[in-house]
């Protein structure tokens, strides 16, 4: 604590004493707008443009509290001095400095819309991937995770901006990350920022339009040495388990299915109730999952060098039989000061991970017959016996999940080395050389089996070897100067060059004489061999200028020019400008609020691009195929895709307006943002007629579409109670986004959401949100034949087994033409949420701390495709317990139709029957932690020791009937690996 004090002159004036002072920041520059409050009174004022203040007090003692956003508040005792200089210290850097592209900005000086995520508490969440940990924590950032071990989550920042690739750019330690977030250990992350509006992302030009996630890993700190050890262990299970029928219920259903179609029921099912419970396949398929996470790190720093090293081991067994994930990460960061003006550093990450699983199929586990045991008496897996119409036709899902070996092994290195040279005091030149190498191998070994009717005669082995190498070279020149007239200027000029090459080779073979030898050399039949590769390159130049007048008026302008190998000849380079302004109203003379400590308004506009358009869309190619003459093979060169040499990046313009405020002595911090994002030149498939001779299915993409996203984000951080040892803080995040397809280059919609042969459930169409659901509308169930006769014609036939009959679904005749045809389909749901929110409450008392995190979304629909199979009641498979409420006679159900083999009325068609409300509110995380007292008498062994209990996804309030309402970003639940509920116990120790 440094504060300078100079003599105080008592000046009596009307009995009042005038105290004056000056507030400085950590660089000894004056700090205007700082808040000076007389403790235990309501008197407070703010410092002027020179950081000075003058207080009138009645007595010459007491305490001032001086505070400023981003700085530690300081209490200053009045000691009879007349003029004080008070120097404030910055707050912990993670919250104070925001990493933006190619630079850093103080939180208080931000002009764009950037979300910062507090990481301290996140590392205690029992999740494998940092993406899952930030779900709900940043306004406008939607994170969709899958429960499958080793998968990376999907991000959507401010809505779905394109029908192509929506993934944001992820930058780790200054390098764009090519592999997934699995390469980053959560415990190594120092800060995570999400750049959301164009004025922040434009510096990334043609890769900025989906948003940018910037991750910085820990580096050593000067004067501090520490060794840390973090360990946690947890167990998990599915958040919800589905109920299916038992053996006697299934037999009764199956009899009904066949009888209603005029077929002979299974003689073995003549007495359903005698069959009892039967096999519980779901129980055998899902197990308790386990995960262990260990991180060991050490760091040290002095004024010459700083080092941070860590090693992480993560081991997870999934909740589905025979699925798992193991990961090892080594992180090594160092900074070295050669001289006052020259510094070098590096960041290096080595990572090895293994994902393994059997051939698991969740739908098949639900559909297997309870009348079939899992094993036969000889210990081998069972299969259907006899006619498929009685015993089904499924491969034993437990068997397939057990005997098949699928594995993916990844070896990744990401590292960079940089040098920074200070020139002429105000200029800094930095050059950064980075490389990322990803190698991954996959292997599938499927042994032969003979499970009653289901026989796979030959064992099968497939292997692949893939590599992707990315090189980066960035150069920046930064100028930073604070002039005496109150203007601060920061300027950055730079270039960035990046190149990537991807190659793969794969092969497979079948029929192994001995299944003990499992290499490609040992197989006999049907050898296949494939291999190819692709590459891309980007070269860019960029510049940014920040102006700051007395922390009151800000202006930022950026421009970036990107050249990409993906763009066609005429469009090789794109220019992406942006600008933003901010106004700290609370520093204005006219602003005299006592409650509002800081009020800033921001306005920004910019243009960014999306270059994820495929590596070679512009090129005109012949593919090579085989042909033959007289039995001899020859090659044929054929054109397939109509060339589009004009293809270029998608561009997006975004307009953002925001307000940041802190109130009540900074106990309340509010940020509100409103934005409009227009994606123009969106790549949409070209409508190519067959007469051109080119494929009308494999078509080129042309820049002709438009999508709009607009929304509002709100973040509220409050310190509710801060009294003595007790602290209660809350964080509330709320986002609302509306998405609409404005133009698709023609009226024809794009059909998406494919679930198999000619079965599609969603569309992309002008005037509607992306991937809106499209199908028939169910209007109850026909109870009697009269109702069928009075309604539009559905399926005509000769008997109840081949035509629409009582118990079948009635579909609305939308065009009133008396026939139910494909024209009677309409928009039946929207997978995009209306809004998302989260609320985190942290209470701490002394060494105990308790946090309670709620997260939810509202207004989105889900197409529950699993029900297509589990409620079909038309073939021989087990069904969900929901079918116990099916229609059996008039009045028994108005929603679930009759059971009939062959489904003559096509009750299974894509309709509102399968659309469910996907809104949910989840107790996302509860963490209880305790700081073990470490001050032993005499010796201090530990710096800190914290033990904690954390539960993730503990309970979900939802009307959704599937496993979990968090399905994919297109809202379709088709065999999605369910999310898990995990409870873990952990220990963080620091020396």
């Amino acid at each position: 604590m440094i504060f300078l004090v100079t003599p105080f002159l008592m000046m009596a004036q009307d009995g009042k004493i005038k105290l004056s002072g000056k507030v400085l920041d950590e660089t000894n520059a004056p700090l205007p707008g700082a808040n000076v409050q007389l403790k235990n009174s309501s008197k407070s004022l703010t410092t002027d443009a020179e950081g000075k203040f003058t207080f009138s007090v009645s007595e010459a003692n007491g305490v001032f509290i001086v505070s400023y956003v981003g700085y530690k508040s300081k209490e200053v005792r009045i000691l009879g001095e007349s003029f004080m200089e008070i120097k404030l210290e910055q707050e912990a850097t993670t919250l104070n400095t925001v990493v933006v592209g190619y630079g850093q900005v103080k939180l208080k000086d931000l002009t764009g819309s950037i979300s910062t995520v507090k990481l301290a508490d996140l590392s205690r969440q029992p999740v494998a991937n940092i993406g899952e940990a930030i779900q709900g924590r940043a306004a406008g950032v939607q994170v969709i995770s899958s429960g499958q071990p080793g998968t990376n989550p999907t991000f959507r920042i401010r809505g779905t901006g394109t029908i192509g690739n929506n993934d944001p750019l992820i930058v780790v330690d200054g390098m764009p990350l090519n592999g997934g977030l699995n390469q980053v250990n959560m415990n190594d992350v120092e800060s995570l920022q999400v750049l959301k509006d164009a004025s922040s992302t434009a510096i990334y030009g043609a890769r900025g339009s989906n948003g940018v996630v910037i991750i910085t890993t820990k580096r050593g700190t000067v004067g501090k040495s520490s060794v840390t050890f973090d360990v946690s262990t947890g167990i998990s299970e599915a958040t919800e388990m589905l109920q299916v029928l038992n053996a006697s219920q299934f037999a009764a259903l199956h009899n009904e299915i066949l009888n209603n179609a005029g077929l002979t029921p299974n003689p073995e099912f003549v007495n359903p109730s005698s069959l009892g419970i039967g096999t519980n396949w779901v129980d055998a398929f899902f197990k308790t999952g386990f995960q262990n996470n260990y991180t060991f790190s050490y760091m040290t720093g002095n004024d010459k060098s700083k080092v941070y090293t860590s090693i992480n081991v993560f081991d997870q067994k999934g909740i589905i039989l025979n699925t798992g994930y193991k990961r090892y990460i080594l992180q090594f960061n160092s900074d070295t000061k050669i001289s006052d003006n020259l510094k070098f550093g590096n960041s290096l990450k080595l990572n090895y991970d293994v994902k393994n699983s059997g051939d698991f199929n969740i739908q098949n586990a639900l559909l297997s017959l309870p009348t079939q045991p899992i094993y036969r008496e000889d210990g081998d897996f069972s299969g259907p016996i006899g006619q498929p119409i009685y015993s089904g036709d499924l491969d034993n899902p437990i068997g397939k999940a057990t005997i098949v070996e699928n594995s993916t092994k990844g070896y990744n290195i990401q590292g960079n080395i940089f040098g920074e040279l200070t020139i002429l005091k105000d200029f800094k030149f930095k050059t950064l050389l980075g490389a990322e190498a990803n190698f991954w191998k996959t292997r599938t070994w499927a042994p032969s089996y003979s499970w009653d009717n289901k026989v796979s005669q030959n064992a099968y082995l497939a292997e692949s070897s893939n590599q992707a190498i990315t090189l980066l070279w960035d150069n920046t020149l930064t100028y930073q100067k604070k002039f005496d007239n109150g203007i601060s200027v920061t300027g950055v000029v730079g270039t960035s060059a990046q190149e990537n090459k991807f190659e793969y080779i794969n092969g497979s073979i079948q029929n192994f004489p001995s299944e003990n030898t499992q290499t490609l050399n040992n197989g006999i039949d049907q050898a296949t061999l494939h291999g190819s590769g692709s590459e891309w390159a980007i070269f860019s130049t960029f510049a940014r200028a920040n102006f700051d007048y007395k922390s009151k008026y800000y202006a930022t302008a950026t421009v970036r020019r990107d050249g990409s190998s993906r763009f066609g000849e005429g469009n090789k380079y794109g220019t992406f400008p942006s600008g933003s302004l901010a106004w700290r109203i609370s520093n204005e003379g006219f602003f005299k609020s006592k409650t509002i400590n800081d009020l800033k308004m921001r306005l920004g506009y910019g243009i960014t691009g999306n270059q994820e358009i495929g590596n070679y869309s512009f090129s005109s190619n012949y593919n090579t195929y085989l042909y033959n003459f007289n039995g001899t093979y020859v090659s044929a060169a054929v054109p397939t895709v109509l060339p589009n040499s004009n293809v270029k990046w998608e561009s997006q313009e975004q307009f953002n307006i925001g307000v940041d405020a802190s109130l009540f002595d900074e106990r309340v911090k509010v940020t509100v943002d409103a934005y409009v994002k227009n994606t123009n030149d969106m790549l949409v498939p070209q409508s190519v007629p067959v007469t051109s001779g080119y494929s009308d299915i494999y078509v080129p993409y042309i820049n002709a579409g438009k999508i709009q996203n607009k929304g509002i984000e709100l973040v509220l951080n409050t310190k509710n109670i801060q009294k003595g040892k007790f602290l209660w803080t809350s964080d509330f995040v709320f986002s609302m986004n509306r998405n609409e397809v404005i133009d698709l280059n023609g009226d024809a919609p794009l059909i998406t959401g494919g679930l198999g042969l000619n079965y599609n459930v969603s569309r992309i169409q002008e005037g509607y949100p992306v991937n809106v659901f499209y199908g028939f509308v169910q209007d109850g169930i026909f109870q009697t034949q009269t109702e069928i006769n009075n309604h539009a014609v559905q399926v005509e036939g000769t008997s109840s087994s081949n035509s629409t009959s009582p118990g079948d679904v009635r579909y609305k005749d939308l065009n009133n033409d008396g026939l139910i045809t494909d024209i009677d389909r309409t928009f039946i749901g929207n997978p995009n949420p209306d809004f998302a929110g989260s609320l985190n409450n942290t209470l701490s008392y002394g060494d105990f701390s308790f946090s309670f995190y709620l997260q939810g979304v509202y207004g989105n629909d889900i197409f529950n495709a699993n029900r297509l199979y589990t409620e079909a009641m038309s073939i021989t498979t087990n069904q969900s317990a929901a079918v116990l409420d099916r229609w059996t006679a008039p009045g028994t159900s108005n929603s679930i139709p009759r059971a009939v083999y062959g489904d003559p009325n096509n009750n299974n068609r894509a309709s509102s029957r399968y659309i469910e409300d996907g809104s949910y509110l989840r107790i996302k995380n509860i963490t209880l932690s305790y700081n073990i007292p470490v001050d032993f008498p005499g010796k201090k062994i530990f710096d800190y020791a914290k033990v904690y209990l954390s539960g993730q996804n503990l309970y979900t309030f939802t009307n959704y009937t599937g496993f979990d309402p968090e399905v994919s970003s297109n809202g379709i639940d088709n065999n999605v690996y369910p999310l898990t509920r995990t409870v873990s116990l952990g220990l963080n120790v620091g020396f």
């Binding site: 030149f429 050059t431 060059a497 012949y622 042909y627 001899t632 093979y633 067959v690 007469t691």
Partner: protein, 493 residues
């Protein structure tokens, strides 16, 4: 020291801002860049090979072309029953709608071939290569372009006429021109091909099977035969073909045997090879589907065996007694064993299956490796065309010569003298029906005779009362008209 820093800075900045232009030039690694291809004979030949490829597709000869026999009433779909092959069932029941998937499939078949032929025709003249390959390649491209248009014009009528390669700068949405103009183009292309192409006898090794002079002349005869307005031309052309060394095989079955492919009777056939593989969606090199699709269902006679194309009783009745072709073309109860196995009439709904194209398991062990080529033009067709043409010219005595050659090969006696023109025509048409059964020719015969009235009369007589004059042409697929509104629809749809 200060200046050193600045020099280093400037050098680095200079180097990094002046990346060579090549840095951003990346071309695909596994495809050929069209701008510098072909540069020599070998590369040109690969482009020419690509022009043949659509013939192999299920969109054309591997499925749709022979299913036209079902539409023509020679057989029924059969298969698994129910909605299996529903698009073909609809076509054969004449309830074809504008979104019929089979019609869309056929529409998708020839146009890529036309594009590829146009590419060859535009790049070849400018190449400096040997005259032989140059002429041959141009000839092959002309022949195939004419062939693809011939398929399209007979099924769909008026068409857009595209004679140069398309790109995104072209008029991608052309109008239809009258079929007379299309036929003029076909005739002109075939005449050029006949001059440029070598004789079949000049091909050897892995060139056997390429388009040849006989094929061009024979197809030209077929065109005039279809148009029916110049029978003398038909006679002249078929006579010219006769002089090129083609002859009937001793056995009818030799035409459909993988061991005797590209025989002396074959003018042009679609080439298939053993390890092509099977994929309903793939356009790549294929094995033949005729054996797996037409094999009797549940019989284990052949690899696959889906039971398509089951001949009707009415068709079987059209075989005369002692016609040796019946035992080659048809599987029937009481007939000769196939690969040692006895046929059972229960394998099929009609009691019959097609035998002609089946390859025993020793030649094709599974559903995806039948190597049997598919006949497009055989010498017996040339003879029958000559017979029909001579009859139309009133020369019924001379017409008997080629007709009887075909009949004699089938073990049938000569046709009697003294038949009227109409009666003789009926005899020839009946002979064509039996000789060329299931080779995709019957439908084209039905619609050309008597301006299609022959088709309607015949179809009504076998109970297809739905058939009307609009059904003599397919509708232009709706999805194509949605993309190109300038395409008018055929009348009645």
């Amino acid at each position: 020291m200060k200046y050193l820093k600045i020099i280093v800075l400037v050098v680095v900045v200079f180097a990094s801002t002046h990346c060579s232009n090549d840095f951003l030039d990346k071309a695909p690694l596994d495809t050929i860049n069209t701008s510098n291809y072909p540069t020599n004979e070998q590369e040109l030949i690969t482009l020419v090979n690509g022009v043949y490829q659509p013939l192999q597709w299920p969109k054309l000869y591997n499925l749709r072309m022979w299913t036209s026999d079902i539409m023509a009433g020679n057989s029924i779909v059969g298969a698994g029953g129910g909605s299996d092959g529903i698009e073909t069932q609809d076509m054969s029941n004449f309830v074809t709608s504008t979104d019929n998937q089979g019609v869309l499939d056929i529409w998708r078949g020839p146009w890529p071939g036309i594009l590829r032929a146009n590419i060859v025709l535009s790049v070849t003249p400018g190449m400096t290569i040997g005259e032989n390959i140059k002429k041959r390649s141009m000839g092959e491209a002309y022949f195939l372009r004419a062939h693809y248009y011939f398929i399209l014009v007979r099924y769909f009528g008026d068409l857009p006429l595209i004679t140069s390669p398309q790109s995104s700068d072209s008029e991608l949405y052309p109008e239809r021109v009258s079929k007379d103009k299309i036929y003029q183009q076909i005739i002109s292309d075939l005449e050029k091909a006949a001059v440029l192409l070598p004789n079949k006898s000049e091909y050897s090794g892995s060139d056997v099977g390429r388009a040849n002079k006989g094929a061009a002349l024979g197809e030209l005869a077929e065109v005039y035969h279809t148009l029916g307005n110049n029978w003398q031309k038909v006679v002249d052309l078929t006579t010219e073909v006769e002089g090129l060394g083609f002859a009937l095989n001793a056995n009818y079955s030799d035409n459909f045997n993988p061991a005797t492919e590209n025989s002396v009777e074959s003018l042009f056939e679609v080439q298939y090879a053993k390890d092509g593989g099977y994929s309903f969606w793939s356009n790549e090199n294929q094995a033949s589907w005729t054996s797996p699709f037409m094999g009797p269902r549940g019989s284990n006679f052949v690899g696959g065996g889906y039971g398509w194309n089951q001949p009707t009783q009415e068709f079987i009745n059209s075989y005369e007694a002692n016609d040796s072709r019946k035992a080659v073309s048809i599987l029937y109860a009481g007939g000769p064993t196939f690969d040692g196995k006895t046929y059972n009439a229960t394998y099929s709904t009609t009691g019959y299956n097609v035998r002609k194209f089946l390859v025993p398991l020793s030649g094709s062990s599974s559903y995806d490796n039948s190597p049997l080529n598919f006949p497009i033009l055989r010498f017996s067709n040339i003879l029958l065309m000559k017979a029909e043409a001579l009859n139309e010219l009133g020369q019924s005595v001379q017409a008997l010569v080629p007709l009887n050659k075909v009949r004699n090969r089938a073990g049938l006696p000569n046709v009697a003298l003294g038949l009227s023109k109409e009666a003789f025509r009926d005899v020839v048409l009946k002979e064509r029906r039996v000789e060329l059964a299931f080779e995709g020719q019957r439908w084209f015969d039905l619609i050309r005779v008597d301006n299609g009235q022959y088709a309607l009369d015949f179809l009504h007589s076998i109970g297809k009362t739905n058939a009307s004059s609009k059904h003599l042409l397919f509708p232009i697929p709706q999805i194509e008209r949605d993309r190109n509104p300038k395409l008018t629809q055929n009348p009645g749809y």
